[in-house]
C-alpha cells in the first residue's frame, strides 16, 4: 500500500528526515503500554505521513496504563487525541498466568483473571471519561509453548484456555465501549512467524518484546483502522481482464482457451475472483478497464461456466483501446467518485506505471507474472477497503452505482430540460431524525464524505449516539429513492443549539446524490427544525478542505449571509424570521418525518 515492507529502518528514518509535513493536520497518537515499544515510532510516523497527516506520537509512562487513564491530568490524553493504542502484555500484567501457571490452583487462576478483567474495564472507562477517540487494544498473545506443553491445547482448564477467555472478555468490552477495536496480535504473530516476532534479547535488556518486523505489522494493522476513520479507505476496484480475472488472453486464446476453472492453473484466478466478489459484497464498486473487444469480454462474463464475477456485479466497464488513465478518469466521472477512492489492478507493468504517472492519487496493485497463486492474498492483505462499520447500504452499493450510471446515461440522452428530466426520475425524499438503525450509516457518511461536505467533521458511531441522546443536538438524515432504485441514507445535517442561536455543525451529501436539489431539501428541513424549536438565528460555516471547493458558495446561494471569511473558516448567518421554501418542486414526494419527534 505504501511500500513500507520494502524499506529497512534506516531507509525509513532517512525518508522521515527528508520529509517536511508541517503544513498537514496533526494526527495525535497516544500509546499506553506496560512494555517498551518506542521503536515503533518510525513506522507509525511513516504511515501517518502516507495518510496525509503530520504525526504527533506521545507515550504514557512505562507500565502506567491505569494511572494514565485515571488521573485528572489531560496532558497525555485530551480532546485533541485522535487515537489511543494500548499494549498490555500479560508477562507484566499478570506474570503468574504466564510464567508459573502450573503452580496455580483453579481459584488463583480465577483471581488472576479477575484482576486482568478489572484492569481492562477500569482502563476503558478511564479512557472514555477523557475522550471518544478511537482505541485499539492489542490482544494477549497465546504462548507458542504453553505451560502444560502438548496437553494444554486440549484442556479447558489450562493456560491457553485462560488467555483465550481473557481475549474474549477484552473483545466484548471493546465492543461495549464503542469506537474501540481489537487488534489480533495472534494473527500478526502468524504473519511474521513466531521466530521473527519476538526479540528475546531486548525483552531481557529493556522489556521491549518485539522485533522490527513485528512492529511494522502491528503499525500496518492499526493504520487499516485509522485510514477508515479518516475516510481514506478505497471505494472502487478497477480491474484489468486478461491475465488478471483469468489466465491468458481472450482475443487470442478464445473462451475455451483461457485459464479459469476449479483446477490449477485456472483455480488461482477463480480464488482471486472470489476474493473480489467478497469485496463487492462488502460494498466495493467493481469496474472493468481492459484493452479488448468489448463483445469478447462480455462473452466470457456471461457465458464462461466458471466466471464468478457476473454482469450484475460490474457497475461500469471501459473495454476499448484507449489508454487506461483516460478510462479510469472517465470511470471516476461516470460513477461520481474521487480518483483517490480508486484501486487499479493490472498484470501489465506498463499500464500500472502509466496510471501511477498520470493519476498518482489512484492506488495501484501490480499482479506479478507467474505468481497467480498469490493474487488473492495480495488483494486481501492490502486492507485498502477496510471500514469501521458495515451497513445494509454497503451490501447494496454495487447495485446503487450501477443505477447511478444508468441515470447518467439517461441524463445524456435526455433531450428535454433538466426540470422534466428530474420529474421523470420520480424522486422521493424522506427526512428523519437519527435513530438506532441509522447511527452507523450516519457516522459512516461523516467519515467518508469529502466533496459535498461543508465542515468535514468526522464522527464515530459513539459520537452520533451521544448527539442522539443530547437535548442540545439534533441529527437529521435524508433518504432518497427514485425509479432506478433505493439509495438509502445519502445526506446528514447536524444542528447544535446554544442559548440564543442554532448552528449547523455538519452538512453533507453523499456524492451519488449530488445534483438533484436534495441539499436544498435537507437545508430547508434543518431551518424548519430550528424554527420549530423557536430559534430564529442560525449560524453555519464552511471549512475549506482540498476536496470541498464545490460547496464554497452553498450557503450564500441558499439565502444565508456571509459574515466573516478567513482562510480556514467562512461564517454565515440566516435570520429565520420569515418562512422560505427552498425545496425544489420536481420531487414526487418529500416526507418530513421528524416533526412529531422534536426533543
Amino acid at each position: 500500500m505504501n511500500n513500507i515492507n520494502k524499506y529497512s529502518l534506516p531507509e525509513i528514518q532517512e525518508f522521515l528526515d527528508n520529509h517536511n509535513s508541517t503544513n498537514d493536520t496533526l494526527f495525535n497518537i497516544v500509546i499506553l503500554r506496560n512494555i517498551t515499544i518506542e521503536a515503533i515510532v518510525p513506522y507509525l510516523k511513516y504511515l501517518t505521513i502516507h495518510m496525509g497527516f503530520q504525526p504527533n506520537i506521545v507515550f504514557g509512562n512505562y507500565n502506567n496504563v491505569l494511572q494514565d487513564t485515571q488521573s485528572n491530568n489531560d496532558v497525555l490524553i485530551n480532546q485533541n487525541t485522535d487515537c489511543i493504542m494500548v499494549f498490555t502484555k500479560l508477562e507484566t500484567l499478570s506474570p503468574k498466568l504466564i510464567n508459573s501457571f502450573p503452580e496455580l490452583d483453579s481459584e488463583s487462576v480465577e483471581e488472576e483473571m479477575n484482576l486482568v478483567k478489572n484492569y481492562i474495564v477500569t482502563t476503558l472507562s478511564g479512557i472514555r471519561n477523557k475522550t471518544n477517540a478511537i482505541v485499539s487494544w492489542h490482544s494477549f498473545e497465546l504462548p507458542i509453548y504453553p505451560a502444560f506443553g502438548v496437553l494444554d491445547h486440549s484442556r479447558p482448564d489450562m493456560q491457553i484456555a485462560a488467555i483465550t477467555e481473557l481475549n474474549n472478555f477484552l473483545k466484548t468490552q471493546l465492543l461495549d465501549f464503542k469506537n474501540c477495536y481489537y487488534i489480533e496480535m495472534n494473527s500478526l504473530l502468524s504473519i511474521v512467524g513466531f521466530k521473527n516476532f519476538y526479540d528475546n534479547r531486548y525483552w531481557h535488556i529493556g522489556k521491549s518484546p518485539y522485533t522490527l518486523d513485528a512492529l511494522r505489522e502491528i503499525s500496518i494493522d492499526n493504520f487499516k483502522l485509522y485510514r477508515a476513520l479518516k475516510g481514506k479507505n478505497k471505494k472502487c476496484l478497477v480491474l484489468d481482464c486478461d491475465n488478471t480475472l483469468w489466465g491468458g488472453i481472450i482475443g487470442e486464446d478464445g473462451i475455451d482457451g483461457i485459464k479459469l476453472s476449479p483446477n490449477f492453473p485456472g483455480s488461482a484466478y477463480l480464488s482471486f475472483q472470489e476474493e473480489i466478489l467478497s469485496l463487492y459484497n462488502r460494498g466495493i464498486i467493481l469496474a472493468l478497464c481492459s484493452k479488448n473487444n468489448e463483445s469478447d469480454v462480455w462473452d466470457v462474463i456471461d457465458n464462461h461456466p466458471h466466471m464468478q464475477i457476473k454482469r450484475k456485479n460490474i457497475s461500469l466497464a471501459m473495454v476499448n483501446w484507449e489508454d487506461k488513465a483516460t478510462n479510469i478518469r472517465s470511470i471516476a466521472e461516470n460513477l461520481n467518485i474521487g480518483l483517490d477512492s480508486i484501486v487499479f489492478i493490472d498484470d501489465n507493468e506498463f499500464e500500472i506505471n502509466l496510471v501511477k504517472e498520470l493519476l498518482p492519487v489512484v492506488e495501484t496493485i501490480h499482479l506479478p507474472k507467474g505468481k497467480s497463486a498469490n493474487y488473492k492474498e495480495m488483494l486481501a492483505s492490502s486492507g485498502l477497503f477496510d471500514t469501521l462499520t458495515f451497513t445494509e447500504e454497503d451490501k447494496k452499493r454495487g447495485e446503487l452505482y450501477k443505477a447511478e450510471f444508468k441515470r447518467k446515461n439517461d441524463k445524456t440522452n435526455f433531450s428535454g430540460n433538466m426540470e422534466s428530466y428530474y420529474n421523470s426520475l420520480e424522486m422521493i425524499a424522506e427526512i428523519d431524525k437519527v435513530n438506532e438503525t441509522a447511527v452507523s450509516r450516519v457516522a459512516q457518511l461523516t467519515q467518508k464524505t469529502n466533496q459535498f461536505n461543508l465542515t468535514t467533521k468526522r464522527y464515530s458511531e459513539s459520537d452520533i449516539r451521544e448527539f442522539m441522546n443530547s437535548k442540545e443536538v439534533e441529527v437529521l438524515f435524508v433518504k432518497l429513492k427514485d425509479r432506478f432504485g433505493d439509495m438509502g441514507i445519502v445526506g446528514v445535517s447536524i444542528i447544535k443549539f446554544s442559548s440564543n442561536y442554532a448552528e449547523i455543525d455538519s452538512f453533507l451529501l453523499s456524492c451519488r446524490a449530488i445534483g438533484r436539489g436534495l441539499e436544498k431539501i435537507l437545508l430547508d428541513a434543518s431551518i424548519k427544525l430550528a424554527q420549530f424549536r423557536n430559534f430564529n438565528k442560525i449560524k453555519a460555516s464552511y471549512i475549506p478542505s482540498n476536496k470541498n471547493d464545490q460547496v464554497r458558495s452553498f450557503y450564500v446561494k441558499n439565502l444565508f449571509i456571509k459574515v466573516k471569511e478567513q482562510d480556514l473558516k467562512h461564517d454565515f448567518h440566516f435570520e429565520a424570521s420569515n418562512t422560505l421554501e427552498l425545496s425544489p418542486s420536481y420531487y414526487k414526494e418529500i416526507n418530513i418525518k421528524y416533526l412529531s419527534k422534536i426533543k
Binding site: 529497512s8 529502518l9 534506516p10 528514518q13 532517512e14 528526515d17 517498551t36 518506542e38 521503536a39 518510525p42 526479540d199 534479547r201 531486548y202 531481557h204 535488556i205 529493556g206 521491549s208 522485533t211 522490527l212
Partner: protein, 74 residues
C-alpha cells in the same frame, strides 16, 4: 563498511554523518540514549543482515566497537 555504518548510525541517531567519528559513543553524543541504542542495534542488524549475540549488545557502545563486532559477524 565504515561508510555504510556511519550512514545508518547518522540516520537512526538523527545527526549529520560528519558528527559520527570512530570515537562516537553515548558519552559524547547526547542523541545516543538507551532507546536509540536499541534502534541502532536493530537497524544495524537489518542493514547488514546479521544478528548480534546477547552480550555484544550492551558492549557495543562506540563506533569502533560496533564496527569490530560487525566484522566478526560477517
Amino acid at each position: 563498511m565504515e561508510k555504510k555504518l556511519t550512514k545508518i548510525m547518522a540516520q537512526i541517531l538523527g545527526v549529520q554523518e560528519n558528527e559520527i567519528t570512530p570515537n562516537s559513543s553515548p558519552d559524547n553524543l547526547s542523541e545516543w540514549d538507551s532507546l536509540k541504542h536499541m534502534n541502532l542495534v536493530l537497524g544495524i542488524e537489518q542493514g547488514f543482515n546479521i544478528s548480534f549475540d546477547d552480550e555484544d549488545i550492551m558492549q557495543m557502545l562506540s563506533f569502533e566497537i560496533i564496527l569490530e563486532t560487525i566484522k566478526e559477524k560477517i
